[in-house]
Symmetry: D2
Subunit: 202 residues, 4 copies
């Protein structure tokens, strides 16, 4: 089983990403469950704005799109910016929008029988809303979101330290991240054994 | 397999509920798949505000809570009020909040291995946001939300006819509702065959 | 100048309301600015579901509606329940919806030239989303929301103490609450001196 | 009085922008009120991800930031992508975030005494949520959002024509856009006559 983690931090490599640190807990638990995991920092890729799968020469999205199609599990990881998903996370969702019209040999939208989870860090407050926004969009594309298929860390109220600047709350966020990994794996396995069918033609 | 539909319209029986009409499409498709379905109009029950499962004598919630625990499938149906889930839908979620702390014999939150979907009607615009808000809350409680586990109908922009006042868009909303029913059923069956485990203790 | 604070806690009097404590900071700053303030705990009133201003005998809303029309300033205060505004807050918004169709002698929607702010407490994460949901609805009704016209307190990640159970973050939330009070007062005064006109008839 | 409209369409010039068409109604009404208006299509500017005001050589944001500081009125216009603000709109908000820490000579956050409105088009459903998300973020930065300080157009349910592909609902969206322009102008004028003060130092 394969998983891909799209880290939607605003910071290009090699700047440290707080979101990557929390996502790593999920990655390690998935690997413990024998899932192979790729992690992509999307801001380091060239992903221009638009709504098609392939926008031409200077577009790294087609390769990311291929990774999505090879992965039973997607983890979308985002910081919270002004209480909302990062512009990189929204960019990813916009480029994924074309998947609504792409079907497999059995006529199923390509996201069917795949599961998705969300990892969010928030310097202030807002992580749960970011989870809802991203999970809601992914369900619309055809991904199944398992119960407790997320983890988050938040600070606040008001400005304060980021995730890696403190240990406060880490134990909860990490345990919740391990739960998320197990739930993603369990539901992905269940759907592999008994997959969803194509939608009715009318 | 059993399902329960909680219709969160503001209108007590026997007033007609537009949301009920669209939910009925989902009910009939579930029945075609041999799922038995109960439909409850929550506004006709006594569900006082609060966050425990049993708030005392004048509280119909414990009976609804029992129905949730007997049902592999939950459909939460809500109108859109000022672009948001109805106060009845939010009331239901608040009362469900206690389920986060309730576990089965295997130590699993009671919503694990259950699936949930959302049906929304909107006189104006706003149905997709209502879906996200409700689905996001249900995933947090432990429910799994299948890909395309929702249907909606919306009007707008601005004031206009309600669902039953027009035929516009019904074909899409109904076909999407039948898809939703099949997806709920498929994922519920998959999870019955290969259920989620209890979260890690630490 | 008059203000009304609608506290949308789920807890009836005399249970302590964390949200009331933070709202009180705003109340006191408004009083320092010579604004008279009424505070109403809505859960102690009879406010049935529906969308008209007067739903008959057992309806306390018409009296609350009168208070809104006597007040240049509205403060809507809500706890965060599953990351969303409380069912009481949503109930209030639903009952306020009728105000969209009510106009004054000059043909202006009755909420024009009134300002609104939001106070939110969250045991976990979610306060900023609750602010956005409530402020967004109030702007739709015709209320003007001043810059930084809110304050909040949040805990989290995960379960933890409520507002009054800790001192963490109080200084920020209180200072932000005093700012909010001044901003509400300043914009209400500005609009009193130079009011909005009726919308164009076409 | 000066206004700036930031059109956050995903489509670079010279592709037609549906959002631009609806925003133009607001522009023309503002001009009728003797406001000078600049319209910027942000996707045609180089606005890299990040959270500071000036990210170096290849960054057009400092010039846009200057325009914001010269404008009493901001109109943020966005399409709806998967029910959410476009990645360009979120990018703009992220770059505006630094304004929270920038103050004028009187110690006021630079967004104080400025007003903001929102224009949204949605091929399906979702426009009102996009308005709430953007307006909520702008209030957090210090902008005042006047009552009915927005207009929108939406289609749906499900896929359908875009704004310019139909005349349905245009009359309502345009009249609402003219109202929005008048309300932005009225509140900007009121605040110019009686401005907000600096926040309390503690």
């Amino acid at each position: 089983m394969h998983a891909v983690v799209l880290n939607c931090t605003l910071k290009p490599f090699p700047q440290p990403s707080h979101t990557a640190l929390l996502a790593q807990v999920v990655v390690e638990e998935l690997e413990r469950l024998c899932v192979s995991v790729d992690v992509v920092r999307v801001v380091d890729q060239l992903v221009p704005p638009g709504i098609g799968t392939d926008l031409g020469d200077a577009d790294d999205w087609p390769r990311l799109h291929d990774q999505l199609l090879r992965s039973a599990i997607l983890v979308l990881a985002s910081p919270t910016q002004l209480g909302r998903p990062s512009s990189i996370a929204q960019r990813v969702l916009e480029r994924m929008d074309a998947m609504r019209g792409e079907t497999d040999d059995a006529g199923r939208p390509v996201a069917y029988n795949r599961v998705a989870g969300v990892v969010v860090t928030a310097q202030e407050d807002g992580a749960q809303h970011v989870i809802s926004e991203i999970a809601g969009a992914l369900v619309g594309l055809g991904y199944t979101v398992p119960g407790q298929g997320w983890t988050y860390w938040n600070g606040g109220p008001g400005p304060g330290p980021s995730y890696a600047d403190t240990d406060d709350g880490h134990a909860w966020s990490e345990r919740t991240g391990r739960t998320m990994a197990r739930n993603l794996h369990a539901v992905a396995q269940a759907m592999a054994g008994a997959p969803m069918s194509a939608p009715p033609s009318r």
